[in-house]
Symmetry: C2
Subunit: 166 residues, 2 copies
DNA sequence: TCTGGCCTTGACGTCCGCGTCAAGGTCTAC
DNA sequence: GTAGACCTTGACGCGGACGTCAAGGCCAGA
């Protein structure tokens, strides 16, 4: 199949597929006229990439999974390198979740405290140093992890139709 | 005080402070020679910005807090606009946490399943469609939220000394 | 034959919070 | 007076995963 069809089937764009190829994650045969030509194995690899990107993997982190598939395995996560990435991501996720929960608790506390001060004018706010109240949460865990980033949800098809050349 | 001192005291860089000014978050008086001149109120505003950035706020989202301080309030979150941002961030955080926990559970399941298959060669993997196993988690919550992003931990001072012009 | 739809490569744009460099002005201490 | 630490504006760079545009080649149907 050609690049447009693969993109549509994988719910992504031709630009993304060319980008994956450029990064060495995808390799395409060529027709006599220079068109890229893909088969079902390629489609499978693209689905793997998209699925992993969708749960917050960097593109580079999908490489072991793709190579595992290329090596003939039925699943991209059957290889030790893939499992290592799994474990690393798990640790990252745990750190991110911990940190986000700490932030969440802090924000909820600030919100409650300030709302209470606005409602009943009794004990306004526990007097403290004139520093941002939010700084009190500087005692939050896991600073130097790579980062917590999920661009959005699962990668949805960018547009409806296949019109690339408008 | 001048920009270098403020940067050092706020644990950030002169470049960041100029950037905040450019975005309209900071306003500096000027000395007769054109140098920026800051006071304690400015320092307070910068601390507010840094604290909020450190817990995942976009720069633009810190604006209500800064304006609240400029309006003379003791705390940046005493104003309704700030509280609205709190509430929005809280909802975002909840969505992010939910999603990350779902992903975490999915990854843990994949890891356990694959490790078990490698260890005891009994029931390899529940047979299913030849699709990325990870895709089974496409039933994850909260797709179209802005995003979950914490670049790292609290913003630490970028470097040790004040040497900007090397 | 010609139109239009797909494909090719190359290159620049996007977003965000700055880092970094360049070329020059200012101020203080010696 | 002069070194050197500080300041000014302007402009380009970065990272990640592409979007988008430009200029042109290939191919099928009417």
């Amino acid at each position: 199949m050609r690049i447009g069809e693969l993109a549509e089937r994988a719910g992504t764009s031709t630009r993304a597929l060319r980008y994956y190829e450029q990064r060495g994650l995808l390799s395409a045969r060529r027709t006599s006229s220079g068109y890229r030509d893909y088969d079902e194995d390629d489609a499978r690899q693209v689905r793997e990439i998209r699925a992993l990107l969708g749960i917050g993997f960097d593109l580079e982190e999908t490489r072991p999974f793709v190579e595992c598939l290329r090596a003939g395995h039925d699943a991209g996560d059957e290889c030790p390198a893939s499992l290592a990435v799994y474990r690393r991501k798990l640790a990252e996720l745990d750190a991110c979740i911990d940190r986000m929960q700490a932030i969440r608790a802090h924000l909820a506390g600030q919100l409650e405290q300030t709302e209470r001060a606005h409602a009943g004018g009794s004990a306004e706010r526990a007097p403290g140093p004139a520093t941002p109240a939010v700084t009190a949460a500087a005692t939050l865990p896991e600073p130097p992890e790579p980062r917590c980033a999920l661009t959005s949800g699962p990668p949805a098809a960018p547009a409806a139709s296949t019109k690339e050349s408008r």
